[in-house]
Symmetry: none
Subunit: 232 residues, 2 copies
DNA sequence: CGTGGGCATCAAGGTTTTGTCAAGATGGAC
DNA sequence: GTCCATCTTGACAAAACCTTGATGCCCACG
């Protein structure tokens, strides 16, 4: 994983949040914490996390409802983390779309292992991520998070990098505006096409020398953008 | 799911095998039972199951070794089902590639729910790429949204592309003006045959070299258009 | 032999989509 | 708190695209 892992935790007890934070290095993981279901779903929509940890006993609404409303629009892996150990609760949560169910008190090593399993599944649902991309003068080192044009390093902002990476991971294919917005920004931004254009513009100004004849990124009018797989 | 679910269970206690068999209707599931690791891996290779239930305490070899050897060549979902409840065992199994870990004695309803989760994951891992079209010098790559004539790329506008795609999806068949207008423009435009003609003209000017002898798109007077499936 | 329907082509005009620039807004580092 | 990099938003310009009308061809039919 080249970019830091984004995890949303929806849990009203601060002690548990602190415990989890401490259990995983802060360098590897970017934590987003919510104390209520509403705040949690908002965070998921805005931060586009890789994983969600969800407590079922929340102050504002039942965790099961939160889970169902997330599943209406997002496929993000959700691990339910709760004190409710009844068989019925487990079955309901798993069938509502939870990817795993861990009962408190839990073993931290086991939870971490289950998180790895969930991330493994999510990674497999996407096309294989190579360690690097290289085509026609443009190369991306996903491990080092670096981009080069004809050997020269180009400095990209986080959003620019994620946009270009997404294009590179599907090099040659057209990615729709909606897809890019959902992948890079998250569900809540899927109509912000104008923002997308501005960012594409700034990527281009950094990697394209002649704006009239793009070497790398081609606009598919009315649809989206496409990374040109070979120089032509 | 039109074909029955195939599940391999690797477990030396016959009582548990019988119990699981009884828990799921025999009409929906085809069970394959193995009492040892070696037999189990052979069954997986031979039967290509949708899911594997694996006991860790086996007579011939350690279940963890079985799991690792399965993972060398197969991505089939594996749920570990065992009496070993130690944290260390769980972490080892999950990191070795297990998709879930259920400790005996287990609740059958929970196990079934976890099986459903595993199958859900497996179904999602399948890529959904649309095939390309290729006939007599004309090829369409639906992923890249690109059209080639004799290897040369041809750039089409959104409407042109959708028109040609619709023709290609029903290659050889006559599509009526009305059908094309409804599919590409929408119901409200189904009488704008003149607009349709102009667009067909511009597609032709891009993909046909000799307008008098069309290689690809044939006009069916009074009816509509047809894509010629083979060069003749 | 003339006429009209169906079709193809061309160019003009208007509309939608995209690109660019710059001004705030945001948020983290110090 | 200020500074700095980044992101979002708005206004406008540029480009791409679509529709429409005019015109001419071909051919069936009277």
């Amino acid at each position: 994983m080249t970019e830091p892992l984004r995890i949303v935790i929806i849990e009203d007890e601060a002690a548990i949040r602190r415990f989890l934070r401490a259990s995983m290095g802060p360098d590897e993981v970017e934590w987003f914490e919510a104390e209520s279901g509403g705040e949690g779903t908002r965070l998921i929509a805005h931060k586009n996390p890789h994983l969600v940890l969800l407590d079922l006993g929340l102050p504002d609404q039942d965790g099961l409802e939160v889970l169902r409303s997330i599943r209406e629009w997002s496929q993000v892996p959700v691990i339910v983390l709760t004190a409710r150990g009844k068989e019925r609760d487990k079955v309901l949560a798993l069938d509502a779309g939870a990817d795993d169910y861990v009962t408190k008190p839990f073993s931290i090593a086991e939870l971490l292992a289950r998180i790895r399993v969930a991330l493994r599944h999510a990674a497999r649902a996407m096309p294989a991520t190579e360690a690097a991309y290289e085509a026609g003068g443009l190369s991306i080192d996903f491990d080092a998070r670096q981009v080069f044009v004809d050997g020269e390093e180009v400095r990209l902002t986080p959003i620019e990098y994620r946009l270009l990476s997404e294009l590179a991971r599907h090099a040659g294919k057209v990615l729709t505006h909606r897809h890019l917005l959902r992948t890079v920004w998250g569900q809540a931004y899927e109509d912000s096409t104008h923002t997308l254009r501005v960012h594409m513009g700034s990527i281009r100004s950094k990697i394209e020398s002649d704006a009239a004849y793009p070497r790398f990124i081609r606009t598919e009018t009315g649809v989206g953008y496409r990374l040109i797989p070979e120089e032509s």
